[in-house]
Amino acid sequence: MVQILEFEREIFAVENQIRELVSLSHMYDSVGDITHEIGKLKKKLRRMKLDIFSNLNGWQKTQVARHPERPHTMDYVDGIFTDFCEQHGDRHGGFGPSIVGGIARLAGQTVMVMGHQKGRTTEEKLRRNFGMAQPEDYRKAQRLMNFAEKFRFPIVTLIDTPGAYPGIDAEEKGQSEAIAKNLMVMSQLKVPIIVVVIGEGGSGGALAIGVGDRVMMLEHSVYSVISPEGCASILWAKKDKVVQAADALCLTAKNLKELNVIDQIVHEPLGGAHRNHKRAIILLRKALKGQLNELLTIPVDKLLEQRAEKFRNMGIFGDITQESQV
């Protein structure tokens, strides 16, 4: 069953109207009038989608980013790359099903591609732990990154996770260390790294594969230090403050671009990627190719210098001695 978000209802209603008129036009002769009516409705639909989707608030974006029909990592891997050759395990006793990865081709170039996989069917969701990675997932990711460095393959990571898994075994196996180590390794890995937030960028669990030369976000994806629900329950002590929390956290692609945390916003098809996978895949492929071509022209030492500089400059603060001098 298709899940319809509250702010999509109007859109679906008009789409139904159009569908009815189209089937009517097949039955009756007065096609001229109906075709005219359909044309009018299609125009209205387009305006409506534009209006609604360019004005989504933080919480609405979060709902789009989490939409069960939204393309997941494997949809992009299958649609954008060829010859995907999956690589398994952290080689230390861990399987790592929440992050998938392997070598593949992007426009002729061999690259390492990896990302959180939430799972589409109930069975897959359980197997993938809903995209909530455990230490072995991060260590597997790190293994694949070192592999890519060894063979000088650029890396593409796709982020889509509610967060790192909060569990007893995850803590026992060193969830913190696994995430921290990835941040350190990625900061100076000697190959180009492109990061794309395709859906939900859930805190440290997202950042653990999110340090790169270029960080992009799909138009309706979100990226945050904490979920709106978590923030609402801690700071407001009320779960129903999610709308306020989502806006306060500034978690949309537009917010992050303004804060200089990301480099590029990748457009989605009108009405969101969940309504048109094919188009979403084409748009992301184009953005990836563009960034990759640019990064491949930069010498490695220069690249590392720029990456270090990029993260060195993250953050906004003041200096009261300077202020008092001004």
Binding site: P166, L183, L207, C250
Partner: protein, 279 residues
């Protein structure tokens, strides 16, 4: 009536100002004379409970007298997101600064530990739960950069609930920023010792806290990535006794040593001189 009981009964009369003379141990509930507590490294003489230390007291406990030079104390949070929950972030910062501990949740500077030059970073938990925002990330990064310039060691004493929500994504990015700086420190073959005190959780634990060449922890400290309540709600199970304590992490091979506070300075000196390759 013994002498101590007499003193205690007298003390109950001034219990309205307990922080001045008497303190109750959070663990064994024993009432302790604060001078005695201070003399004992702020560790309960009865049960060894490690009381939380302020950043200043921590620095004093580790460095040689008068050897500490504070840096970057003028850096302050600017509320770039204009964050407001039940209170404005701006007001929270102002109130925390007014309480007089520090200008943000960490104090950093250079000093001597034994004969070793160190860059020491000590979290101040009283400043918004030691949470990490842009200022904390910047101060730690600058401390690491100073260490590279002066060829000295870095010591971070962690005491933090994690990233500061009021700075949104910018606080998350401090994890990457500090980890990247530590990568550089490692390339210069300079040591970094991480000390985990109660609490060390969330984004602080998932970045520099767990990246030490040596990782030491104080007894009983709560250390972990996810909060205990979140884990309980997720797995719908009660957590095992002693879960996410320093001892639990040691049992699972995640830290090098659990060190009693009164032995901490000695242990650090030993490690630093071993790393320097001489005695």
């Amino acid at each position: 009536m013994s002498w101590i009981d007499k003193v205690k009964s007298k003390a109950s009369q001034i219990i309205s100002r307990p922080e001045e003379a008497w303190v109750e141990c959070k663990k064994c509930k024993e009432t302790i004379y604060s001078a005695e507590l201070e003399e004992n490294f702020n560790v309960c003489p009865k049960c060894d409970y490690h009381f939380r230390l302020s950043a200043r007291a921590r620095i004093q406990s580790l460095l040689e007298p008068n050897s500490f030079t504070e840096h970057d104390q003028t850096l302050v949070s600017t509320d770039s997101l204009k964050f407001k929950d039940k209170k404005r972030y701006k007001d929270r910062i102002r109130a925390s600064i007014k309480s007089g501990f520090s200008h943000d949740a960490i104090i950093t500077g250079s000093g001597k530990l034994g004969e070793h030059d160190v860059e020491l970073c000590a979290f101040e938990f009283k400043f918004m739960g030691g949470s990490m925002g842009s200022v904390v990330g910047e101060k730690i990064t600058r401390a690491i950069e100073r260490a590279i310039e002066n060829k000295s060691a870095v010591i971070i004493v962690n005491c933090s609930g994690g990233a500061r929500m009021q700075e949104g994504i910018l606080s998350l990015m401090q994890m990457a920023k500090t980890a990247s700086a530590l990568q550089k420190l490692g390339e210069h073959k300079l040591p970094y010792i991480s000390i985990l005190t109660d609490p060390t959780t969330g984004g602080v634990s998932a970045s520099f806290a767990m990246l030490g060449d040596f990782i030491l922890a104080e007894p009983g400290a709560t250390i972990g990535f996810a909060g205990a309540r979140v884990i309980e709600q997720t797995i719908k199970q009660k957590l095992p006794e002693g879960f996410q304590t320093a001892e639990f992490l040691w049992d699972h091979g995640l830290i090098d040593s659990v060190v009693h506070r009164k032995e901490l300075k000695g242990k650090l000196e030993q490690i630093l001189s071993l790393l320097a390759g001489k005695n």
